[in-house]
Structure formats: C-alpha cells, structure tokens
Symmetry: D2
Subunit: 365 residues, 4 copies
C-alpha cells in the first residue's frame, strides 16, 4: 500500500489535508462487542487539540470526531469503523506567499520533487494536523487494551530544549500545559516558551511513553519485533528524529553485567531492556523515549530557493506551534496503543493453544 | 504475515535457526535483467561472518551462499530468488545446561511464554545468526541501487563502549577489525576488547550508516515514511536499542534556527535532517545512527530463574561475540539497502509520470 | 488486515453500513497530477444507483459522492483520496421484525455466529449498498487506465434467469434498463421481471466484463496472477457464485488443439485464454464472466430459525432488488478496473527497465 | 509483495523453477507445539508427484521434502518453517529449440514481454512443478485443521473431457489413477487417455473439492470473503479457467425460492450456498468446483511466432501431462487448506471474545 495504513490486523488508514474539508480514518479489525462512543475518543482528542494555551498554535479546531460506521447500539460490530473530523478554522490566505517557495526543514522541497504538485496550504498532508486521526484511532486501541488486558499507556514531556524534568509526578502531567511531570519546572517552561515566542523561534523536545501491564508474548520474531514496530510507529510521527527503547543509547557504554536485567521470583531487578527481549514483550513496563525536532515554521527569515531554483528569503506566516513536542504526548500514546493492539491480536491468532505452567514474574522486584 | 518478511515490493522472507541444518531466504520483487551471481553477495557475507578475528565468536562458518532460483544465465529473471546458507559448525552440546534456564537479557523467557517451546541451541531463531540472510538479500539491493541510481551505502563503528571514533577515515574502515574509521584508536580498541574477553564481560557499541546519492522522492507520507521504515529496519536488528536520523537526540535542545537546513542553489547548508524531510528523501546524504546493547551471553554468573520459576545462577557457555556491535556494520548497511530498494520501486510505481523543471540542488554546499 | 481493503499499490479501504449515516472509502496510491473531480465518478455511480426503474429496489439514494482529500485545484496530489456518500433514504423500521431472525441465504446466520452482534437494518455491512464505494473508487482507476493506457472496460448482462442475450450490441447496453446488449430481448426481460415482481420472487443473472487494450505484462507469477486477482475481485461482489476467464468451464471438454490460441504476426487466432497466459496479460481482450445468485430477500415465506434456535417462518419486508444482477454491471467493471490499476502500478515498479524488440501482436487477427 | 506469497497470517512464500536446482517455500505463521515431520507432508506430495502412471508426464521426481527450520524435537516452534525439494530429473536439452519460440497457450509470450528474459527450460517458474511446494505447505495446514477443528478436505475429478463421474464413491478416489470417484468410468478414462496420448493431444478436466466440519465464522467481510479468497487460491493454480462455489453458474437460472437454503433445527435443507453466506462459513460443507484447461504442450504442430515476430510452427518436445487435471486434485485440496488455515487464525485474532448461546445447526438435515 502507499503508506497511509498502519497495522496488520488492527489497521488504521487515514486521509486528509490541513486545509481540506475534513480528516478521516478507517479502523479495520476492531473486535466486536466493545462498547464505544465518540465520548471515548474525545478525551484524548481534546488533550491534543490546538489552541488550549498561548504556548500552542492559535488555530482553533474543536476536533469533534464522528463515528460513521462499525458501531451499533453502542457496541462495535467487528466491521470497519469510519471516523471523521471536519476542519473548521482554516485560514489559507496566509500561505499564498509560500506557494512557490521551499521552507527550510519543511516537506515542501521533497513533496515537490516526489509529486510535482502539492497542497501548500498549511502543509497539506505533511501537516501535523494529520495526527488527530491517529489519536482518535488510538483511543479505540487504548480502551480495548485497558478493558481486555489492563494495559495502561501514559506519556509525558521529559525535556523541552535545555529544561529537563527531574521528578516524575504522574498526577501533575495532565495539569501541566506541557504534559510536564515535574511541578518544579512548570514556571521555567512557561517563561522559556514566552521568550521563545517573542523571539519568533522554536525548540525541540523529548517525550517518553510507558505501557504498563503488557503481558509477556506480544511481538513477532525478526522483522516485526515489538520494538521494531514501535520504532516504526514513533518515527512516523512528524518531527521525530530519534527513538530509544529502555536504556537506549546508554547501552553503548554499558557492559553486559550492567545492562542485563536479572530475574528473580519477585521480579526483574532492573529494566534496561525497556520491557522487550528478542522483540517480544517480557511483562516489564515498556519504556519508549523519542526526540522531536523544533518546528520549522519560523518568523525569523531563512535562506532558501523557490521552485525556479532562485534564491529567496523565507518568512513563515500562518499559525504554528513553537514546540511541536508540547502536543506530541497524546500522539505518542496513541501510536504505542496501535502497536500493542495489533500485536495483541496477532498474539492470540498464533499462540491461542500455548499454555505453560511457568509463573509469570512481576514487572519489577 | 508473521514477522519474517520485510519490504512491500522488494520483499525478503527468511527462515532458519542457529543450530538447524540451514538458513535461507526468498527475495521476491527483484527486477529482471540484473546480472547477479553468488560472488556479488559473498563479499558482504564475508565481512559479517564470525571468527575473522579473536574479538569475535570463534564459531567457524564459511557462510557460503547458494542462489537456488530467480537467476538464469547470470541474470535475474524477475521471479523469486531463493538463497541458502548451510550451518556447518554447530556445537549444540554447549547448550544442554540452559535448556530449562532463562538467561538474563536473552529472548529465552519471552520465547518460552510466547511459544511454550523453544529451540534453545545457540538461541535458535533469536540468534544473530539469522542476520546472515539479511546481508545476502541486502547485497542484491546494494548492487541494484548502485547500478541503477549510483547509491552508495557505507557504515562504520562510531563508538565501542567508552571509546569514540574522533576522525572519519573511510579508507580505514575495511582494514579495521572493528569497522572503525579512526586509525588512532585501533590499538585502544584491541586492548579494550582483550581485557573485556579476559573479564568474561561484553560491551555495547554505536554504528553509523550513510547512504549517498539517494535521489529526492523516496518515501511515502504518514506511516511508511522513509525514516519510519529505516527505524523499523534498524530496530529489527538483534541488540539495537536506539535509532537516530540526522541530528537525532541533539534536536531536543536545538532551536529552529539551528536545526533547519537552509537551501541555496549550491546545495543545503547543513544536514540536521539526515537527508529526509516529511518522510521523503531530499537528495542529501541519509544519516542513520544506532545503539547496540552489550551481548547478554556472559561467563560471569548472573541471577535468574528456570522454567519452574526456581532461583538459579546462570553461566553461559558456548561461543559468543563479546561485542555484537563489531559485526553489525554490514547488517546495518544491508537493512538500509533493503529499505531504499523497496522505496525505489514504490517511487516509480506511483510517480512515473512526475516531471518538474525545478533543479535538484546538490547534497551539500 | 481485516478484509476491507483491496489492492497492494492502488489500495481501496471502505467502510459503511446500509442504514448508517454514510459510506466512505480511502483510495491510497493514486498517482499525482491526474485531473479528477466528483463529476468523473458520478457517472458510474448513477449507473449503479437504486430506483432508476421499477425493476430495482425503490430505495431512493442520490449517491452523491464527495472528494474530501487528495485532490488540489482539480488534480490528484498523490496523497490518499477520501470519498464519502451519505445515506439519505433509510427506512429502518422495516427491519425490526428480523432482528432475531436468520433469513435463508442471507448473511444473518454467519454474521451472528462470527460477531455475536449485527446491525440487522438493511443487512448492515453485508448489504450490496457497500458496493457504491467500489464504483466510486473504480471510477478513478477507469479514468487513469483510459488516459494513461487507452484501456476500456465495459460490462453487460449476458443472461437473466432463462433469457440469454444472443447478440452483442454495445450501443444498446446503456439504453437498456438491464445493461442488456440484445435489443431483441429487452421487452422479454421487462415482462419476465414484472411477472417475477408480482410473484414476490427473485432471479439470478450472468454478467460479462471485457477490458480492451490492456498491454502485455500485467500480472505477477504464481499467487498474484492477474486472473487470480480478478477472481478474487469478482467473487468479493455480493451474490457472485461463479467466475470464468475466457473459455472458462468450456475448457473442461476442450482438447489442447481446440483451446490453444495460435499466434500470427496479424494477431492471435482465437481468445480461449481470455487475454491472460501464465497469470499475465497477453494484450488480447480480457474476458470475464460471472454468475450472480438470486436475491435472498423474498416476500414468499421461507422456513428458518431465530437466534434462540426456534423454528420460524421468514417473510422479508423492506425494499429489495428482485435481481441483484441488474445493477451488478458497473460494480463488475469497477472491480476489474481496480485489479488492472493495481497491476499497472506493480508492473512499472518492477519492470521499468525491461525493453524487448519483439513486436506486440494485435489482440485479434 | 510480488506475487509469490499467499495468506495474511499463515503465509506461504515459494521459489523455484522447473529445471533449477531446487524448489522451496517458507511457511510463516504456523502455531507452535504442533507435531510435524516430513512424513506428514510426503503423503500428499506422493499423490501429486509425476510419473505414477502412464497417463502422466514421465519425468521422475521423488519430490522428497526436507524441513529445514521451525520444527524442534518433532514439534513446530512458531518460527518460520523452511521446506526444500530438490529437482532430480531435469532434461533441459529437450527445450533448446523453443528458446526463441512462443508456444501457443503458454506463458512464453507474456513472460517475454513482462520480463524481457525467461528461463525456458521446462517452463521455468511458470511450470506446474511449482505446485509441489503448495502441496507441501498445504499439508501443514491440513494437519492442523484436522487436529484442531476436525476439518476434512477432499477433492476428486468430476469430469475429464466428455466423461463425467456419475457416482461419488469416496473410497474409490485414491485407488483411481485419476482421483476419479466413479468406479464405473475408470476403464473409460483409461481408454480415453490412451487414445489421447497416441493422438499427441491433451484434454481439460473439472475438479471438485469439499471441506467438511468447517465451523461457522471463517471469512472476513467485503474484500477478504472466504469465497473470494478461495476463488483467488484456485484461480492461482496453473491452467484453472473457472471457479464455482456451491450452485455456481446454475444460480443464473435459479429463482430465490429454489436457491435459498432454508434452516431448520435439524440443519440446512440444501446447500446451494456451498457453505458460505456473506463471505463467511456457515458450518455447511464448503463446495468448490474448478475448470482446468487442456495442457498446451502438444506434439501436434501449431502456428506461432518467434521472438523476432517471424512465423513458425511449434512442436513441443519434452515430457508433459496430457491432462494437467489428473494431478490437480491434491493441489486444489492444498489451496483450500491454506485459505481455511489463514481464516482460522484470522477468526480467532478478532473474534476471541465472541460467544453466543445460539445453537449451531448441523450441516445438512
């Protein structure tokens, strides 16, 4: 297929441009009999939606999702679930000036050479607006994983530019304007973002996501390892430039005796593996971390060329997030949910007859 | 499918266990009329094969590949290419003692819970021995990409434990026992590995891979982005725990003005993007970096449990690489080649009619 | 995936129930730069839509399609094309009585056992209403194949119950209420259908589809043969029970000397192959024929059971086609277009370098 | 992928040419813990292998299959199963003369135009020899379906040229040289084939396959219907030109009251549906019928052209089946097994939570 589908058994296929009439997706492969309503999906959509604070793009989109099929009398029927979100607050005139320009670090240049044509309004298909459908589809997966397996998925911002979260207070995350888990740095983040906005610049961020209570056995050997599919999922999010599982790049300087997570009947003694061994979940928490680059739409002029190859100076108008990382947390949660959902279904397809009398040890001693 | 296939149009499907009679794969989707012989694949297989130096596992495998189909009178026919490598130097008795044990940081525990049965000899399917077929299949892709597009793919070891390569001397890489590009650290690496071996410990590594002369336009939007498929490919290599594209995790602390790669008629002024914008190749060098964890097979005893859940002490006998990273370079090159090959075919499937008169600017000013 | 997608490179994924708010599909993989508007798709949708004559269901659906994405300033952009058709004329109360009943020859019993829940209104997802999206998506493929390859696809009703078309007058087909190519039998068909309607019964039909000017080389060996994909496509249409390519079941009694289509520089001397040899198009007309069963919704009572396993008598109310075959012609054309489109893209992906100086002979001497 | 894989969860990927060193396939997705040995597969391979009687090609191939992976101590491990069959009795010199010729009704012309190169020896990849791997892979599916679901799959020759089987004596089929179920016509078939062989001609055949005890619920809606996947599978067998499910083409002239299979607590009252309703198995016997064309390799001269487009007369030397249908029965059984196996796994992936208290009625009253 051509790149707009994700998942083998729980398959999400999406469409939609930033300034088109609507965004939509089809979720194919959802088991039947699950209670589902728009309200189940709206919560995460609201966490992701733009314009919640002054630190985000000021485009106002209610991002109200409609379920068009696959649900009957409040329950999924096993047939494909069609989801639709209408675009309300386009302001396309802002983009006329970049019609023939390539903004540095944008997809303009690559889309132009690949397709020979592009919808330049708000970035068209390359806009992060597309991620709204990932969050909607991920909401179905999150609900199913919670209800059927007790799996909980939660993300947070671990770092914004130079500012790192030093403590992890889960209760603070949804009170923060940044999905920041460290109350002590909240005001620092506010000030940093205010200064950045004045400057007309943007900044990168690090997002972490954790999945708890994933049973052992999710993931396929070799190419469709659970970690490989997670890497695929996360790197497919706009602006992501790096992925780590567990110890990640710290593994480079670790010795085997340091890295290996020893097992005891009371549980694993550490979690450098990030909950995945041989590409298969171990029952430990799944730990994922990712780097997001700074937004490329800046008010500060940059050098570039136009479609004729002529030298130009680019200044981006329009409304943009000065830090795409701020809104990335619910997107990363959704993508992790989609991967786990797909592997939950794949696991029971092929391993339904498996039963071992070996005790499953706790995630952590 | 069940995880043993990679690629949508250029599809590699592999089989084989570490101590089974043979490893094999099928390469489906290779264009016809390409001259191909075993010799074209043996070079990279020899770069990957074990036992070349004292710093690697001492298992001796010639890894001679046979082409069983898809090639006629020296040319590919467009039909599937069957490849086979026989296992010669198994020594299975070394593994009897771990039959009922779970080695920390190994796939033993997860395979056991997923499948209820496992071929414990040399790690069975979870052994890095499986990567031999990736290198064989990748050799076909490398040859095709070079001949049809002029694409060159080369990797190197950027760091081994605490020791970093400070200079990048391409000519040194294949003379080094470690695919190390910095002649100044070669002896340091030798000594470090000798000490490590005595200690019975293992160490992690960082591998970088570069692809040059990739034309703009490879990669699909949203889920099958070129960087997402690269992340998938690399994270599917045994022991990989982290992936970076371009600036990677440095993006977290970069401002937009720092990160954006400005364009001039003479070329891009930097390459923080690592050659990929909006999931599509830009014509710049594609820069990939990955972290490999230390081998988990150690002579130093570790705490664990057995299949009955009883406490045990594990000591791994058998022959193992003290640093899997050392042999990972040709594997990483092969995986990058497979991703680029698949997207080269996908690109021309859908974009055959595209022609723009916009000049393609050089990779680097 | 779970069965609601068709095609590997030109992929159509659909959703929607007979009495839900809307039907939709996503067409992923359409090449960029193709001029496309709703008007291009509406023609075939109108040929398929219900209620055109007294011989069809009297449900009135305008089947107005909206393009929600993937088209910019009248041209495709290469990004996924979202299509939506709203349901207007549901009359769900007609179905209350069959909520707990299994109608003979309907999907009620199988959906109930597979999913444990079903949207019984108008057949839910199992309704032929779903085929509207196939026709919409097929319209894109038809246009592309015509413009890029000169391929023409046309179908007709070859037989309705006992009445066979004896002549093939292409110009009559779209004037007929039945896509009937034989003016001589038009009134016979009218009378037969009027009698059938009075009787409250239904009847089967045979539909033929022809594709002209398909170049040699479409189709993949072994499993994804062009004829295998066509069989898959046609058998996926509601009510289809049989498929023939070329001579079809007549081949059983043919000798090799009869069946083989001899080649001359002026063209093939016959077309028993139906334009496909070894699973690959030969350049001859592609000839497909299919059998459609009679509608299973009848006013004539039938024996059945309910969800409790109790004996019941079923009488179907609601509005139904007495012969689903009548409206099947544009659906069959659309499915053939989707198969050819997918293989056109697959062909150029893998065979772009192929050039032979062997003349391509005409379809027919 | 490029057409050499079949199945979404139970995936068979094959390679190999008629006169290459070997044929092979990889079966990916087989559940673990199933007892499996070469002997389990050899039985059907022997039923298919050439040279058993004078009515088949006289090429002698033992078709001994080797299991190279995925089985440990007699049980499947859940990892991919590599299967290999060596070619023993090639006689390639017979084919030198057709190197530049296109045999009528052969894949020569289409392979030449698609690939620009072909292995002409024995038909290369287009040879029915490829079906040996289907039978080997199908053997795994057959065994699993029998052991886990009690599903029995059996085929027979229903017609050879003008001679129809009038009675269905299951016990006679494997005693017959033709998989013929009607003892009364056995000698007629012998005589017909002897005359045909003298004449140097070939003949078509009809093969039927039945699957018993398939539970209700296998099959996905819309595109991946069980019948659509069966049609795909059967039409992918060399020489197949037509497929019927249940009443097949008889449905064309049936009225709804005739065709519909009424339900009673004692079972269905007929089986025009062939065990599939709405694309999903109903629990009735699955009835499939297919038409095979006569072999195109004839000693009787035929008109054709060569690769230069020059007029030639073709006479096929080499060894060929005068009726490919004779050996098609085990192949058709294998393909039906592969489809059912794939859908068995897909069914439990998505429908594991479904439970209804509605009784499952018997296949037949």
């Amino acid at each position: 297929m051509s790149g707009n589908s994700f998942g083998k058994l729980f398959t999400v296929t999406s469409f939609g441009e930033s300034h088109g009439p609507a965004l939509g997706c089809i979720v194919d492969g959802c088991p039947p009999g699950i209670s589902l309503s728009e309200a189940d999906l709206q919560g995460d959509l609201d966490r992701r939606k733009p314009g919640k604070t002054r630190h985000e793009t000021q485009r106002r989109e209610p991002d109200q999702v409609r379920i068009l099929s696959g649900v009957f009398e409040g329950k999924t029927t096993g047939t494909p679930i069609g989801l639709l979100i209408e675009n309300i607050d386009q302001r396309s005139k802002d983009y006329g000036n970049i019609m023939h320009q390539f903004r540095p670090a944008h997809a303009d240049y690559t889309y132009h050479h690949k397709y020979g044509i592009r919808d330049y309004r708000g970035g068209g298909r390359s806009s992060a607006r597309e991620t709204a459908m990932r969050v909607a589809a991920g909401g179905i997966a999150k609900k199913y994983l919670r209800e059927q397996y007790g799996i909980e998925i939660q993300g947070y911002m671990a770092q914004l530019g130079p500012i790192k979260a030093e403590t992890l207070d889960w209760s603070h995350i949804d009170q923060s304007a940044f999905f920041n888990p460290d109350p002590a740095i909240e005001s620092q983040l506010e000030n940093y973002m205010d200064a950045l906005r004045k400057e007309g610049n943007s900044i990168g961020a690090r997002i972490n996501v954790v999945a708890r209570h994933v049973p052992p056995g999710f993931g396929e050997p070799v190419f469709d390892r659970l970690d490989a599919d997670i890497a695929h999922a996360m790197m497919s999010i706009n602006a992501v430039k790096g992925i780590e599982i567990g110890a990640g790049f710290d593994s480079v300087a670790q010795k085997g005796t340091e890295h290996r997570d020893e097992l005891t009947p009371e549980g694993f003694l550490s979690n450098n593996a990030g909950g995945i061994l041989g590409g298969i979940s171990s029952g430990q928490d799944i730990l994922v971390s990712m780097a997001l680059k700074p937004t490329s739409s800046l008010r500060i002029p940059g050098r570039s060329i136009d479609t004729q190859g002529e030298v130009i100076e680019v200044v981006t108008k329009g409304r943009h997030d000065p830090c795409v990382g701020i809104r990335a947390t619910p997107i990363a949660e959704a993508m992790l949910a989609l991967v786990l959902m797909d592997h939950a279904l794949r696991h029971r397809a092929q391993n339904a007859e498996v039963s071992v009398n070996t005790p499953i040890i706790p995630a952590q001693a």
